[in-house]
């Protein structure tokens, strides 16, 4: 029974990684943290109902995402990827330290926004938390929604075009700046959802809460294949399972090391990730 319980926990944790990995950028982990804080403040200080607090967190993070894109990344549109990476690290520290200033370093105890009880099966031998069910369900809904949006929506297709080749996209008449803003807006709103779900399952909220999940979501995206929605989903869930199994069967201390070892092995063996496609450019 512990095996099944671990598996469920792994899938649930992995679903959070998957949500983050779907629309990834490097400062994403800290947007998750901001989302969780906003929801926390809304429910504890303002007495706003939990579900509404998620909506507010999504709205705040959407604005934050657009601001980050416009202020930090847009001026670097033609810069090297190294400059962009360093900026992302800067944004990440900026967000963490802003949170430290605003909310202090004392951990906040996040109370779950999921109003249902856990389900006990097999005379209480297997307990499935309501949080894990909600997390997996939300992840599936988001994945289906995003797949439909990027496969069928005009804006969604434009997003794919921009992410593949900005110049060529401009030559199609696509406004790349507003398309990238939209991508950040959606990604940040999803990050808020991920933050609330994460803190509902693991209730300790501090300014660095998001950084590890952010890095792991990046690992998940590479693992599954960068740019592929099913890849992000698969990579995230496998990573969650590996992490939880590593924790319970090998060593709690080593579980993160195991996760990153997986990243290294994947990069060595299949650099494009599990579902990533390698397309050679023809000259």
């Amino acid at each position: 029974m512990t095996f099944i319980s671990n598996l469920i926990n792994g899938i649930s944790l992995g679903s959070i990684y998957a949500i983050i990995a779907l629309m990834l950028n490097f400062a994403h982990g800290d947007v998750i943290m901001i989302g969780a804080y906003v929801s926390y403040i809304c429910t504890t200080s303002a007495g706003i109902p939990p579900i509404l607090s998620v909506v507010i967190a999504m709205a705040v993070c959407t604005v934050l995402g657009i601001l980050i894109e416009g202020l930090a990344y847009r001026p670097l549109r033609k810069a090297t990827s190294l400059a962009v990476l360093i900026t992302a690290i800067g944004v990440s520290y900026f967000l963490q330290n802003s949170a430290l200033l605003i909310w202090g370093s004392n951990p906040k105890t996040f109370s779950s926004i999921v109003p249902f009880d856990s389900i006990a099966l097999f005379e209480g031998k297997l307990i499935i938390t309501a949080e894990s069910i909600v997390t997996v369900a939300v992840c599936i809904v988001i994945m289906i929604g995003l797949t439909l949006f990027t496969k069928n929506g005009k804006m969604g297709k434009a997003m794919r075009a921009v992410s593949e080749d900005k110049d060529a996209a401009q030559l199609m008449g696509i406004n790349t700046n507003s398309t990238i803003s939209l991508t950040f807006a959606i990604g940040s709103a999803l990050a808020a959802v991920a933050g609330v779900l994460l803190c509902s399952a693991y209730p300790v909220l501090i300014p660095t809460t998001g950084s590890m999940p952010g890095i792991k979501a990046f690992t998940a995206a590479v693992f599954g294949g960068i740019g592929s929605i099913p890849g992000a989903m698969l990579g995230g869930i496998l990573l969650g399972i590996i992490e939880i199994f590593g924790k319970s069967y090998i060593s709690t201390e080593l579980s993160d090391a195991i996760v990153f070892a997986v990243l290294i092995i994947v990069l060595l063996v299949k650099p494009t990730g599990l579902l990533g496609k390698k397309i050679n450019e023809k000259v």
Partner: protein
């Protein structure tokens, strides 16, 4: 239709275009020929707004577009098939064409039918990822994608690059057909011989300057051009 007046373009410290002026009249095929690195592609990129000129002006159908964003020019009737085709490799043929009609949402169905009529090979591959197409098919897709925006002026950058001779001929036939159907064309080519055959007029570009211009026939018969670009 298009008037480029004294543009100077830089890549950092490198002075790539040194006071280029050229004109394309309605219904013409104008060729821009020259060696590698002469500035042909830079000229097209500057016209389509991907690069900026420090001086002078670019006028498209009596409107100054020197400072207009690249994405706004498509709706004004300018299409640019860039060097190396730059089709969206991870999108299907059909999706690439849909992106071409981004500014013409009402034209998607009709446009795709037109493109498939002109390039039947694309029709068979409509649901295939563009990255799996051959070089010639990708060139056809790049041209078809540009036609989806109903351009008045079509700029083609090295459409024959890397293609087998039989395909080169086919691409040039298609350019002629497009021209006959009323599209004005600005063509950049290293294959000067082919380009001069179909061009009404041509400019020769050498290290960022236009050195010679004239009708296609004149240039094809000029001794210095023959020596430099036509292999004798």
């Amino acid at each position: 239709m298009l008037k480029v007046d004294d543009i100077n373009v830089y890549y950092g410290n490198i002075h790539a275009l040194k006071g280029i002026s050229l004109e394309v009249h309605p219904d013409e095929i104008v060729a821009l020929i020259g060696a590698n690195g002469a500035g042909k592609s830079t000229t097209l990129k500057t016209i389509s707004g991907l690069m900026r000129t420090k001086t002078g002006s670019i006028t498209l159908m009596d409107e100054d577009i020197s400072h207009t964003d690249a994405h706004k020019l498509v709706a004004k009737g300018l299409a640019h098939v860039p060097e190396g085709r730059r089709v969206f490799l991870q999108m299907t043929v059909q999706e690439n064409l849909e992106m071409g009609a981004y500014t013409q949402p009402g034209y998607v169905k009709e446009g795709i039918n037109d493109v498939f009529e002109r390039f039947p090979r694309l029709k068979h591959r409509r649901n295939q990822i563009a990255g799996t197409l051959s070089g010639g098919e990708q060139q056809m897709l790049a041209m078809g994608r540009a036609l989806m925006s109903k351009p008045k002026l079509l700029m083609l950058d090295e459409p024959s690059m890397g293609l087998a001779p039989i395909l080169v001929q086919q691409i040039f036939d298609i350019i002629k057909e497009l021209h006959d159907a009323g599209t004005t064309i600005l063509l950049v080519e290293q294959n000067a011989e082919m380009a001069l055959q179909i061009a009404d007029r041509a400019y020769v570009l050498e290290s960022g300057r236009i050195t010679v211009s004239g009708t296609g026939k004149e240039l094809a018969q000029s001794d210095s051009i023959k020596k430099a670009y036509l292999g004798g």
